[in-house]
């Protein structure tokens, strides 16, 4: 079982072969509420860790989604365009956003599930 890592901006990422799959967390989807629109990056785009590369909009608010690692976007979840509610229904599986082929090492500030749970708690 591969490890899921988390960012302080409420993305999760999981290694999936050569690339890393990225989405937003259960906490993030719950805070956003009903997702009505997702804007995804172009496949092939070279991104820097921390760069805003996607947008998720709920009925009440818009939020950026950041690249948690540097690399190249190799795939995006086209299903979200037609069915953005997948982000609410299945944030950590069918509701993934994009896959990045990494350039270099993972950033040092990623958290594991326990660390992320504590981070969320500290925000409450």
């Amino acid at each position: 079982m591969t490890t899921t890592h988390f960012t302080k901006d409420h993305e999760w990422l999981r290694q999936d072969g050569e690339s890393w799959t990225v989405g937003i967390t259960e906490h993030a989807q719950n805070a956003l509420g009903d997702v009505v629109f997702v804007d995804l990056p172009e496949p092939g785009r070279v991104v820097e860790a921390g760069e805003a590369i996607a947008v998720v909009e709920s009925v009440k608010a818009a939020s950026d989604v950041y690249a948690p690692i540097s690399g190249k976007v190799v795939e995006v979840n086209a299903a979200l365009v037609d069915d953005p509610a997948l982000v609410n229904q299945s944030p950590t599986a069918d509701g993934w956003f994009f896959r990045i082929a990494p350039a270099g090492d993972l950033p040092g500030d990623l958290m594991d599930a326990d660390g992320y749970a504590k981070h969320v708690e500290s925000l409450a």
Partner: protein, 355 residues
């Protein structure tokens, strides 16, 4: 959440119902319940939803000449308002700018006012300042306000009133002042009740078949689809009633006499046409254009989001008069990208008032 927020008399009930509390106009208010904004919105259009709007300002004007006194500040026809009737009006400043929008009702022996939560500290001293001897303003901070909205309301709480009627009545034995009005575009009631009875009344209304609680999030998406203005977004002190497309709220008699604060500026805007005007805007595609989005060619979105009943993004805002005709193509700058849109008639979702 900040300690200094006010609570409404329904604070315990909101927590019990799982309301997600957010600060709004100095109050801790539920933005949504576990059902979520989308579900609450659609439920209101399909059946009935209960909103706590107790943060709004309620007041009474007593005394001979109360209506004439209020007319110094508003172009609404208050003196012509019959007992048992309510009307929408605007408070204006000397430049014709909108200080607030409000409801005024004739309760026979007094006028009853409902003003915005965010403006009550401005409105009430302003009204006080124009009152002659013998007319008194009585704020009603010990009253709660509940809005029960949706097509099922008429059967759940039957009344003889038509749209914009108002009367004292009893609901479940609790004395209330109810008006057949609201902020959703649906039929329904706004119910003023003594704070001490508010919790019992709310629980009674929630026990009626098909009534679910709804928060400020759904209230906002419902009013936007209904084309209704939100003070602070769509209206402010630098916007006059003509620009705001609220000319209909100016009484016919008032447009002959021009005897209200700001009348010169309003008359000028009416005679020569305003430079900009509030219109409905439909962005193409699915992405919402929020308030603050620029309209290329010199306009601004003042309210925008996703309309659950429209099933698409809806917005309103101000555009130059040359761009204001229905169907005019617009380009919005949404998060740095040009998004095509067009001017669309308001409301986006048809009103279903009991006229």
């Amino acid at each position: 959440m900040a300690e200094d927020l006010n609570e409404t008399p329904l604070a315990d009930l909101h927590r019990e119902l799982g309301g997600r509390m957010v600060p709004f106009a100095g109050y801790a208010m539920p933005v949504q319940y576990p059902q979520g904004i989308m579900g609450e919105h659609l439920h209101c259009r399909a059946a009935a939803a209960l909103f706590d709007v107790s943060h709004m300002g309620q007041a009474e004007l007593h005394g001979e000449g109360a209506a004439a006194a209020l007319e110094r500040l508003t172009p609404a026809d208050v003196q012509g308002l019959k007992p048992g009737r309510q009307r929408y009006g605007l408070l204006l400043n000397g430049r014709g700018g909108i200080v607030d929008d409000f409801m005024v009702a004739n309760l026979g022996d007094r006028l009853f006012l409902v003003v915005n939560a965010s403006r009550k500290q401005v409105d009430l001293p302003l009204i006080e300042s124009v009152l002659p001897a013998g007319v008194t303003l009585r704020p009603l901070p010990d009253r709660a306000l509940l809005a029960l909205q949706g097509p099922a309301v008429a059967a759940l709480v039957p009344t003889a009133m038509s749209f914009m009627g108002i009367q004292a009545m009893e609901i479940a034995g609790i004395p209330v002042i109810a008006s057949r009005s609201g902020y959703t575009g649906e039929d329904g009631l706004e119910i003023s009740v003594a704070a001490e009875h508010a919790d019992r009344l709310a629980r009674h209304l929630l026990s009626l078949p098909g009534v679910l609680p709804a928060g400020l999030g759904a209230r906002d998406s419902l009013r936007l689809e209904a084309g209704l203005c939100l003070y602070g977004n769509d209206l402010d002190e630098d916007t006059n009633p003509i620009e705001a497309a609220l000319t209909w709220s100016i009484g016919k008699r008032r447009k002959a006499a021009w005897d209200f604060t700001g009348a010169d500026a309003v008359r000028e805007a009416l005679d020569h046409g305003p430079a900009r005007i509030r219109v409905g805007i439909r962005p193409e595609g699915r992405q919402p254009a929020r308030g603050g989005t620029a309209v290329m060619g010199g306009g601004l979105v003042t309210s925008g989001g996703f309309g659950p009943s429209v099933n698409g993004p809806v917005a309103m805002g101000y555009v130059p008069r040359a761009l204001a005709a229905d169907g005019t193509a617009l380009t919005l700058e949404v998060r740095g990208k040009p998004i095509p849109a067009h001017v669309a008639p308001l409301p986006f979702h048809p009103h279903r008032y009991a006229r």
